[in-house]
Amino acid sequence: MTRVALTLLVLVALAAPAALADSGPPRQGVVIDPGQHGAGLVGEGASLYAANCASCHGPHGVGVLKARRGAGDVPGQGPPLLGVGALSADFYLRTGYMPLENPSQQPSRSRVLFPEEEIRAMVAYVASLGEGPGIPRPQPQKGSVAAGNTLFLQNCAGCHQIVGAGGYVTGARVPPLEEATDRQIAEAVRIGPYLMPHFSEQRLTNTQLNSLIAYVDYAKHPDDAGGWSIGHLGPWPEGLVAWLIATSALVATCIVIGKRLKA
């Protein structure tokens, strides 16, 4: 009996983090307060910022270094945004990484709640907070897939898996790259979000970046010689197919052939 209780406990313990993750606080609504911050794109961005971001990033993007209780009991904490530039704001907003639900959680791709002009307004506002890099305009069609393949292997595959299927590294979930747009790839490389290292132009020139993006784009739909690709993850799904499709088919054959004889 005690053993059963123990197993149940373990199962509950395993399931709890997942359940908690789902029941986080709801996202803050968008409150627009026109007029308070002046007119124009930056002004609109400022009010959006005040409503959605300031609880964690502080007034005027100065950052909140120590966690404090904010509105709706959401703890607020976040890095300063002075000088991160349009590049970073564009990336974090268009991937749905921001606004975060909980500052201790890893940002991840989620549904973007802001319409296009609000994003542009917030990007303009964050860019106005200090000198920072602008939104990059990569040209992957000028790059070479083969060169990008090598670059990706040397710089990214250890975390993102060789065809960008993602994975686990100590302390983080590394996202698959299938949804990342060309611009987002260029931005991520220059930012280095979360545990990802950032790559300066000395380490990875813009020409190399074009090739890298060309490869990531290729890897989304690679050459699938040989048939159904089962996810480009190698042995993991292959084992499933070997057992669930092939071995079950053979066992079924044995049962059918074995049965015939009884008659």
């Binding site: 053993r3 059963v4 123990l6 197993t7 373990v10 313990a13 395993l14 983090p17 997942a18 993750a21 897939v145 083969a146 393949n149 090598t150 292997l153 040397q154 595959a157 250890g158 975390c159 898996q161 060789i162 299927a165 994975g167 686990y168 979930r173 590394v174 698959p176 490869y215 890897a219 690679p222 050459d223 699938d224 010689a225 040989g226 048939g227 690709s229 480009h232 993850l233 190698g234 042995p235 993991w236 292959e238 084992g239 197919v241 070997a242 057992w243 499709i245 092939a246 071995t247 088919a249 053979l250 066992v251 054959t253 044995c254 049962i255 052939i257 074995g258 049965k259 015939r260 004889l261």
Partner: protein, 448 residues
């Protein structure tokens, strides 16, 4: 005409009495007895497809620059070995079909051996006089795992290289013999000398297949000479009388059908479902790595074990005596294979049952054995699952370290639970049967 041919052969071989006997050999009848046969057909398929691949594979690690048909690797540095596999995949006639069929066949080969082993275990077919037959079977399973690993390693792609790096660290971790053994096999520190790949190759295409073939022959000879086991389903089946169908005309058409079905399924898979797309992994150079590299499924339990063992090294006087990979990568499989391989002798020792057994148990007939078998299975299976904790995390968001800790508890608790639950279920089933028997006898009596 046929008669003429038969006489011609008989006059020169004197084989007629033997053939007559073989044709009258009796095959008892149950579908699960066919699993071993499927494994045999897969072995034949592996030899056949493998032979075709040897025509085109090049076992040299000399570097070369690729300018072949696969553009994303244009200009990449790689070994001749890897280049030849790209060539097989993209340029050789039916090369990719045969390569994929070969790889799938290896995956399914091991799966059917495992099923066959489980059938033999849970029905007690391994008991005297078939304990030796059984041990040979377990030996073939071990060789099949090794053979599969070598095949996976030959390609010299990114996954091969990473797999070999783990293999090397496990070999090194074996106390006392590890370092000399690794040096002997690899001919130098990882990735080894230029003769390492040719060594792998000769082991993969010659030494191990011949070993498997020889053991297989012995295994089958022993099966035939001791005759098949059977379930007791009617009073006609006894310890001394085998009931079933003769080789001909009963078993032969069935076996031929099974052979065709097996090969058919595997060629379909090889033609329709991608396996090990090595062109996507790219060539291996020391230091390269990809996230989520895994061995083929049948070695997944070793990756799981390497992850579950907490990280510690046995250090005495500043000297690492037992490096960590030893526990999960070497000791764990050794323990599992010892228990499985020596089971007939362990069971005999515990039960004191030294009799001949030609009749099979149903799993419920021996609740303790079935319980122990389930416990062992659950143990290995959980370790196996732990090997994919990273993928589960990426897909379901279940924290990786929580999973690992959960598994660490489960691998200790669950087998014990499995033993008692299974034993209980078997006993209940038996009790139910006895009750039903009493009832029908009573009803029969009241009808009289």
């Amino acid at each position: 005409m046929i008669r003429g041919v038969v006489r011609y052969v008989d006059e020169r071989t004197g084989g007629a009495p033997f053939v007559r006997k073989a044709l009258r050999y009796v095959f008892p009848d149950h579908w699960s007895f066919l699993l071993g046969e499927v494994a045999l057909y897969l072995f034949m398929l592996l030899v056949a497809t493998g032979t075709y691949l040897t025509f085109f594979f090049d076992d040299s690690v000399t570097p070369t620059t690729y300018y072949g048909t696969y553009a994303p690797l244009d200009g990449a540095q790689m070994s001749h070995a890897y280049q030849s596999v790209l060539h097989i995949s993209f340029a050789v006639k039916a090369g990719l079909l045969i390569r994929q069929t070969h790889h799938w066949a290896a995956d399914v080969f091991v799966a059917t051996i495992v099923l066959h082993l489980m059938r033999v275990f849970f029905t007690g077919a391994f008991r005297k006089p078939r304990d030796l037959t059984y041990l040979l079977g377990v030996a073939m399973l071990g060789l099949a795992l090794l053979e599969g690993f070598l095949g996976y390693s030959l390609v010299d792609d990114l996954l091969s290289g990473m797999g070999l790096a783990i293999g090397y660290s496990v070999a090194l971790s074996i106390p006392l013999v590890g370092a000399p053994l690794a040096t002997l096999l690899w001919g130098g520190p990882f990735p080894g000398s230029a003769s390492f790949l040719p060594r792998l190759y000769i082991a993969h295409v010659l030494i191990i297949p011949i070993l498997i073939g020889a053991i297989l022959t012995l295994h089958l000879a022993l099966v035939a000479s001791r005759h098949h086991t059977q379930f007791k389903r009617t009073p006609r089946e006894t310890e001394r009388r085998v009931v079933g169908v003769p080789t001909f005309p009963g078993q032969v058409p069935r076996s031929l059908g099974l052979l065709c079905a097996t090969w058919g399924v595997l060629f379909l898979l090889g033609g329709l479902v991608q396996v090990n797309p090595v062109w996507l992994w790219g060539p291996f150079h020391v230091g390269d790595a990809t996230n989520g590299a895994q061995p083929d499924w049948y070695l997944g339990w070793l990756i799981g074990a390497l992850r579950l063992v907490p990280s510690f090294d046995v250090v005495i006087g500043g000297y690492t005596v037992v490096p960590n990979p030893f526990w999960g990568g070497a000791l764990f499989p050794l323990v599992v294979f010892s228990i499985v391989g020596l089971w007939p002798w362990l069971e005999r020792k515990v039960t004191g049952d030294d009799a001949f057994h030609n009749l099979l148990d149903r799993p419920r007939d021996n609740p303790s054995r079935t319980g122990a078998g389930m416990a062992l299975f659950v143990w290995v299976f959980l370790v196996f699952l732990a090997g994919s904790a990273d993928r589960v995390y990426v897909w379901l968001g279940l924290s990786y370290s929580h999973q690992i800790w959960g598994y660490r508890v489960l691998v200790i608790v669950a087998p014990v639970l499995a033993f008692f639950i299974t034993r209980r279920v078997c006993r209940e089933l038996l009790a139910g049967e006895r009750a039903a028997l009493v009832r029908t006898t009573a009803e029969d009596a009241s009808h009289v």
